[in-house]
Structures are given as structure tokens and as C-alpha cells.
């Protein structure tokens, strides 16, 4: 039964992936190219060492973003605001980290703390509005996203930017000193016998992200708090009757989700940008929603989904060389999201129908045996 459940659980993402491949094949055929060669090229290019490192680097922030969204999803809360939370958090963390005079290791801690605090504070606005005024969090977080974008560009352009040298027109904060950055994992890779080519550094945030995934798992599935959280999502009325205060739960979950969301920009801040600039990586929050959906809010699923998205993005780079627009992977992404949620829903219904049938069958057997009341197994 367990094995069958697992197979069914895998059925949904697998069928979604196949559908996505089909749809993108049709798109490739439409421009008179061969989908087979396209996918072969993608696969060959995608498994190169530097490609895998690139894909992993892209997957790390998506994983964190997926976790932030999933915490909310677990109790039926939609944090659409991860995008705004991490943007504002990244700017303030980068600024504070660059200008505060603290020794190396402490600087990393400081940056992470600022990022988490800002993310949590921004998300708590939506939480407070929901708890005190009954404002739906989807609407408030969408509005707060745009307010955060406005604040971020205002703060960057007027208060937090560094004085550039003449001729340098990129608006940016001061650079974080290298002692305050998390070093890359390339040393570890070389120790393992993998030799990454120059210019591709595996983000040092990876262990932190993995730790975050483990903490998430333990918190949600192995603690009283996590039980209450899942119960509130599953059946709000029942959990309220059993003594969970839904208002404080909403607030706590929003704050927790926001704190994780604050970290979304960190892998790229430490590993690539070293400062906040006007072209800092955007869109991670929205993609995080997709990652959480595809990964079913489970840490392993989220990790796989994040890596899949990173891998697709990277391996598509080769397509431009053979005359196929690499944007095809964005279509694949969209199709995967839609198909995955549809497939999960269909599977859920099939399983439900089977359970109903099995229960009815059991009842019939029992009544034939002369028992009026079903005996619990």
C-alpha cells in the first residue's frame, strides 16, 4: 500500500514533465527544428561540470524561496510576497553588511540576521492586516510587493548608494569586504576529485540551505508547533476547537515565512554580486511559488523541483547555438506548473474515489457476514 502510494505520488510530477516535454516539442517543431536533437544537445550540455554547478547555484535560492512559500502553504496561507520580502531584505542586508565595522565571521551572521529580520518584518505587515482587519493575505502581499519595490528603488537611489567613480553609472551599494562573504565550495569539490573550470564557483550557501531544509522538515513534521500548523491548514475549525489560536498561528507562520524569504537573495549576494545593485537578481519569489507547488511542500520535492528549474535554465543556453530560442524553457516551466497541479488534483480525486469504493466494499462484506457495525481494523 505504501509503495503504491509512493508510485501514485510520483505519477503526477512524471506525467507533468512528459506533458511539458510534449508541449515544448510541439513548439520546437513549429519553428521547423528537431526536438530530439534539441533535447539531446540540452542533456549533453547540461551534465557538464560547469553546467551542473551553474544549475545548483540557481537552484539554491529557488530552494530557499520554495521553503518560504511552503511554510505558508502548509497551513493554507499564500505568501505571494516573497518577491518583495527578499528584495527589500537583500538591499538592507547588503548595505548594513558593507558599512558596519565588524570582523569577518560576525559580518556574515549580521548580514543573515538583518535579512531575516527585514523579511519577517515586511511579511508581518500582511500577517497583522489579516489578523486584525481580515485582509486576505494574497491581496495584501501583492500590494506589499509593489510597495517594497518602490521602497527598495527609493532607498537605493537616494540614501544607500555608494559614491561612484566618474563614468560608472550603475547604482549600487558599497561592496561587502571579502572577509564577510561565505566562501565558495570549490575547495571541497576539488577534495572530492571534481575540478570545476575557472569562473564557476559553487555557492557556499549550499550547506546553509540544506540545513534550512532539515530544520523545515523537523519543524513541520516532528514538533508540536508543526502539528498545529498542519492541522490548521487541514481543518481550521477542528484545530481551533482543539486549542490552537488561529490568529497567533497566522502571525507566527507569516513571520517565519518572511524570515526565510529574507534569505532568498543571500546565495547570490554572497556568491555573485557582493553588493546590492540595480540589476540584482529578480523573480526568485514568484518562481519559488512554482517550486513549492511542484515539490508538494516537501523539502526533498522542493529541492528536486528547484534543481529541475535550474537545470532547464542552464541546459537551454546551448539551444541558442542551434537556432532554437532558449526561452522555450520558460514555457516548459509554466506548463510544468499547470500540469503538475492539475495532475495532483486528478490523482487526489482518483485516490479518493478508490478509497470510497474500498470502504463501500468492506461495508458490504461486513453486512453479508451478519455484522451491522463495521469493526475497526
Amino acid at each position: 500500500m505504501r509503495l503504491r502510494r509512493a508510485l501514485i505520488a510520483l505519477l503526477a510530477p512524471a506525467s507533468a514533465l512528459i506533458l511539458a516535454v510534449l508541449v515544448s516539442s510541439i513548439a520546437v517543431l513549429l519553428i521547423h527544428q528537431s526536438p530530439l536533437t534539441a533535447f539531446k544537445d540540452m542533456a549533453q550540455f547540461g551534465v557538464r561540470t560547469d553546467s551542473l554547478i551553474f544549475a545548483a547555484n540557481e537552484a539554491i535560492p529557488l530552494f530557499v524561496s520554495g521553503l518560504a512559500v511552503a511554510i505558508g502553504f502548509k497551513m493554507g496561507l499564500f505568501n505571494i510576497g516573497v518577491e518583495g520580502q527578499y528584495t527589500l531584505a537583500a538591499l538592507l542586508a547588503a548595505y548594513v553588511g558593507a558599512v558596519t565595522p565588524v570582523p569577518g565571521f560576525l559580518r556574515i551572521i549580521l548580514i543573515l540576521l538583518v535579512a531575516m529580520t527585514v523579511g519577517a518584518a515586511w511579511a508581518s505587515v500582511a500577517g497583522i492586516l489579516k489578523v486584525t482587519r481580515g485582509v486576505h493575505e494574497v491581496i495584501s502581499t501583492i500590494m506589499l510587493n509593489f510597495i517594497a519595490f518602490g521602497f527598495t528603488s527609493y532607498l537605493l537611489a537616494h540614501l544607500l548608494k555608494q559614491q561612484n567613480r566618474p563614468g560608472d553609472f550603475v547604482v549600487k551599494t558599497k561592496e561587502i569586504p571579502s572577509s564577510g562573504l561565505i566562501p565558495s565550495l570549490n575547495g571541497l569539490l576539488r577534495g572530492l576529485g571534481v575540478h570545476p573550470p575557472a569562473g564557476s564557483d559553487l555557492y557556499g550557501f549550499l550547506p546553509l540551505a540544506l540545513a534550512l531544509g532539515i530544520v523545515y522538515y523537523v519543524l513541520i513534521w516532528r514538533t508540536r508547533f508543526g502539528f498545529d500548523l498542519r492541522a490548521s491548514g487541514f481543518n481550521p475549525n477542528a484545530s481551533r476547537v482543539s486549542g490552537v489560536d488561529p490568529r497567533s498561528m497566522v502571525l507566527k507562520v507569516m513571520i517565519l515565512s518572511g524570515a526565510v524569504a529574507g534569505l532568498v537573495g543571500m546565495p547570490d549576494l554572497f556568491g555573485l554580486y557582493h553588493r546590492y545593485t540595480i540589476d540584482f537578481v529578480a523573480g526568485l519569489g514568484f518562481t519559488g511559488i512554482a517550486v513549492a507547488l511542484v515539490g508538494r511542500n516537501h523539502p526533498v520535492g522542493i529541492a528536486l523541483a528547484a534543481f529541475l528549474f535550474g537545470f532547464l535554465d542552464r541546459s537551454a543556453q546551448v539551444l541558442d547555438l542551434v537556432g532554437i530560442p532558449k526561452e522555450i524553457t520558460i514555457i516548459m516551466r509554466g506548463v510544468i506548473i499547470l500540469c503538475v497541479v492539475i495532475a495532483y488534483e486528478v490523482v487526489r480525486r482518483v485516490v479518493q474515489a478508490q478509497e470510497v469504493k474500498a470502504a463501500a466494499e468492506r461495508m458490504r462484506q461486513l453486512s453479508e457476514e451478519g455484522q451491522t457495525e463495521p469493526v475497526p481494523a
Binding site: 491581496i139 519595490f149 492539475i342
Partner: protein
């Protein structure tokens, strides 16, 4: 008793009409007052009102689109994506076949987005928010991909923008009132003359009317006409009643023989078509080309206008007008924005005082504090950063939601999953 139940709605409607007119008059009076005191002419110039009209139309169209979907009980976060589809298809068809082809295909493109949303939410019962988010992502990807196929190797175009569209949608001036031509003869420009006098209130009204009646695109007229039309369809026809009943109580609707799924499909597809029209409007009235990121979150502003407008056509129009005005002023002049702070402060102070006297102590006090802060801002600053103007719609919406959430009434079954034959609303 019977007469009461018959007359009550009509009286209520008349009362509502009076309130709307009174509010509009008060706003114009305040605007006129602040203009005379601060000397910021652009606060109430025909140019500003004309720009407001142009900027507000995409928001209005997409907001009305949202109205059709949500009245049928389907939350449409995908408005932005459907609008993106509208910009691309509108520009592509406009480049090939001119403006009316652009309008038709742009609406079709948006409707396609609506169809996907309907299949996912109505047929498969997927959460509306999730499907909307997916559509926004999908639309951005699809248009990028289509641009690569359709626009590369075309002079003046590329993967992020289309070539110039053919032709333009004709503008009209109203004869006699704003200097339009009548059988080839130039007529006087009454409103324009009034505006140039700079009389208190009269000139401001003249400027408003001049702005609303000169160089108005046919598409704008169609969009404005959609407001009463939408009201009529939704509140005065059998189809409209069925559509709204599906959004309020689908189980009851089905028991009366209303085809729930069909109504929901219709609402969401119309929603997409209107969002697509909003996108095409952007292409034709602003740039003459499709550019990636052209919608710039207007689909979400439309959503804000829908909520601000309490899920009613005239409300959506007021929301679109307000947000459009802020954006238009930002485009035109910064001193006027500074003067707008005074306007906002007075408006907030009046609302806050009213709320306070009506017994809403905390909300009223919060607004009064906010009004004080705005006065202080006006006194202390000599310039308002554009970033703050850009976030106005979102802040206003949050304020409205926070202070008037009890007075807002979304359709009762908005966003709920519905399965055919289910017994009770979940």
C-alpha cells in the same frame, strides 16, 4: 410592506447616486481649492485630465475584466498575464493588419489566457490563486518565445520588442465644446476658453471636461461605455443574474437550473478578453509597439481597482481614475505632485474626522495622524520622489482594505472551488 420591498432598492440606488455625485463634486472643489492656494496649475489642467484618461483606461478595462471573473466566483490573479498576452497579440496583429485587427486578435489572445484559467479552475478545480500565478509565468514565457520567432530579423524589432504597429486608432474632439470639427468647419472651444480664465471651480470644471472631451480615442470611448454596459449586463439581464448567482451561491444556482460551469467559463473568458483589450490599448495608445514588461504590473493595479471599487463597475472606474490620476500627474509635473500631498492630506483629514465622529475612533485617529504626516511632508520636502507616486495605488488599496474591510463585499463564493453536484458550499 410590499411597496417597501419594491421601492427600497430604487431608493437605495438613488441614494448611492447622490453620494457618488456629491463625492465627485467635493473632490473637484478640493482640487480647485488646492490649485488656487498652491498655484500648481497642473493639478487641474486639461492636459492632466487628458493624460489621466489615457493612463486609466488599461486599468479600467482589466479591472472590468476582473469584475466579470470574480462576479462568476473565479478569482483572477492572472489578469497581468492575460494583459501581457493582449499586448503581444495586439501588437503582432496590429503590425500585420492595422489597429482593428490588433484589437480583435489582442482580445483573442487575452481570452486564450482566460480559457486556460477557466479549464484549470473550473474543470479541474485547481486553486484560483495557483492557476493565476502559473498563467502569469506562462504568459511571460510564451510571449518571449513568440517574439523570438516572430520579431527577430525584423528591422527595428527584436526578442523584447515588436516593430511599429500599423496605423492608429482615430481620436475625436467634441464639436462646439472642445474645438472639434463639424462638417469640416472648426467650432469654438468652450471648455478650453473656460480653462484659460483660471476662475475658481469653473475653470477647473472646464479643464476636466476639456480633458475628457478632446483628442479622445475611439477605444477610450468604447472602454468608458463598457462601464454602464457592464452594469446593465450584470444587474439588468437574465444572463447577468445567472452569472452573479454562480459567484454568490453556486449550489443554489445549480438547483435552479443555471449551468454553473458554463457561466464561470463565460465570466473568465470575457475577463481574459477585456484584459487582452487593455493590453492592446497599451500598445496603441502609449508606445505604438510591444515591449517586454510593458504592462508593468498594471494587471495587479487593476485588481487593486477592483477591490477598491467593491466589485462594482462604477467603483472600478473610480479606482482606475484615482490610480490613473496619480500616474498622470507623475508623468507631467513634480510641483503638482507636491501640491497633491496637500490635497491628499485634506482628503484624509476629512475622512478621518468623519470616521472619528461616527465612532470609529482608532481608524479615524490613524487617518488624522496620516494627514498630519502628509502636511509635514509637504512643508519639509521640496520634491516628492517618483518612487512614492508609483506605489500610491498599492498603499491606497491597503488603506482601504484595512479601514473599510467591513464595508467591502466581494461575491460570497469568490475563490471557492465548486464541483458539479456538490451538496453544500465548502
Amino acid at each position: 410592506m410590499i411597496t417597501e420591498t419594491v421601492e427600497a432598492p430604487q431608493e437605495r440606488r438613488q441614494a448611492r447616486l447622490r453620494t457618488v455625485l456629491l463625492a465627485a463634486g467635493l473632490v473637484l472643489f478640493l482640487l480647485s481649492f488646492v490649485r488656487s492656494v498652491t498655484g500648481a496649475t497642473d493639478l487641474a489642467s486639461s492636459g492632466t485630465f487628458s493624460a489621466t484618461l489615457r493612463v486609466a483606461m488599461p486599468i479600467l478595462l482589466a479591472g472590468l475584466g476582473g469584475l466579470y471573473a470574480e462576479r462568476a466566483g473565479v478569482v483572477n490573479i492572472g489578469l497581468e498575464g492575460m494583459m501581457i498576452l493582449g499586448t503581444w497579440f495586439g501588437a503582432w496583429a496590429g503590425w500585420h493588419w492595422g489597429p482593428w485587427g490588433g484589437v480583435a486578435i489582442g482580445m483573442l489572445g487575452g481570452a486564450l489566457g482566460g480559457l486556460i484559467h477557466a479549464v484549470a479552475t473550473v474543470s479541474f478545480g485547481i486553486d484560483h490563486i495557483i492557476s493565476g500565478v502559473a498563467i502569469n509565468i506562462l504568459a511571460a514565457g510564451v510571449t518571449r518565445f513568440l517574439s523570438v520567432i516572430a520579431f527577430t530579423n525584423t528591422p527595428g524589432a527584436g526578442i523584447t520588442q515588436s516593430p511599429q504597429v500599423k496605423g492608429s486608432i482615430p481620436d475625436v474632439n467634441v464639436p462646439v465644446l472642445s474645438g472639434g470639427h463639424f462638417f469640416g468647419l472648426k467650432t469654438p472651444d468652450v471648455f478650453g476658453v473656460l480653462e484659460r480664465k483660471h476662475w475658481f471651480l469653473v475653470s477647473d470644471a472646464g479643464a476636466l471636461l476639456k480633458g475628457l472631451t478632446s483628442n479622445v480615442s475611439l477605444l477610450t470611448i468604447a472602454a468608458v461605455a463598457l462601464v454602464p454596459l457592464t452594469w446593465w449586463i450584470l444587474w439588468r439581464t437574465a444572463i447577468g443574474l445567472r452569472l452573479r448567482s454562480v459567484g454568490e451561491h453556486p449550489v443554489a444556482a445549480e438547483s435552479l437550473g443555471v449551468p454553473v460551469y458554463a457561466m464561470k467559463y463565460a465570466g473568465v473568458i470575457v475577463s481574459g478578453a477585456l484584459a487582452g483589450l487593455a493590453g492592446t490599448f497599451l500598445v496603441y495608445e502609449e508606445a505604438g509597439i510591444y515591449r517586454e514588461g510593458q504592462t508593468a504590473g498594471r494587471g495587479f493595479i487593476a485588481l487593486a481597482a477592483l477591490i477598491f471599487g467593491n466589485w462594482r463597475p462604477v467603483g472600478v472606474m473610480s479606482g482606475a481614475g484615482l490610480f490613473g490620476y496619480a500616474e498622470a500627474l507623475q508623468l507631467r509635473s513634480n510641483p503638482a505632485i507636491l501640491a497633491l500631498l496637500v490635497f491628499a492630506a485634506i482628503a484624509l483629514a476629512i475622512t478621518g474626522g468623519w470616521l472619528f465622529l461616527r465612532g470609529h475612533r482608532r481608524g479615524g485617529a490613524a487617518l488624522l495622524v496620516l494627514a498630519g504626516l502628509m502636511f509635514w511632508w509637504h512643508a519639509a520636502a521640496n520634491k516628492v520622489a517618483n518612487e512614492f507616486i508609483a506605489i500610491t495605488p498599492y498603499v491606497v488599496t491597503l488603506l482601504v482594505l484595512a479601514l473599510a474591510a467591513q464595508r467591502l463585499r466581494p461575491p460570497a463564493a469568490d475563490g471557492r472551488r465548486y464541483r458539479k453536484g456538490q451538496i453544500e458550499s465548502i
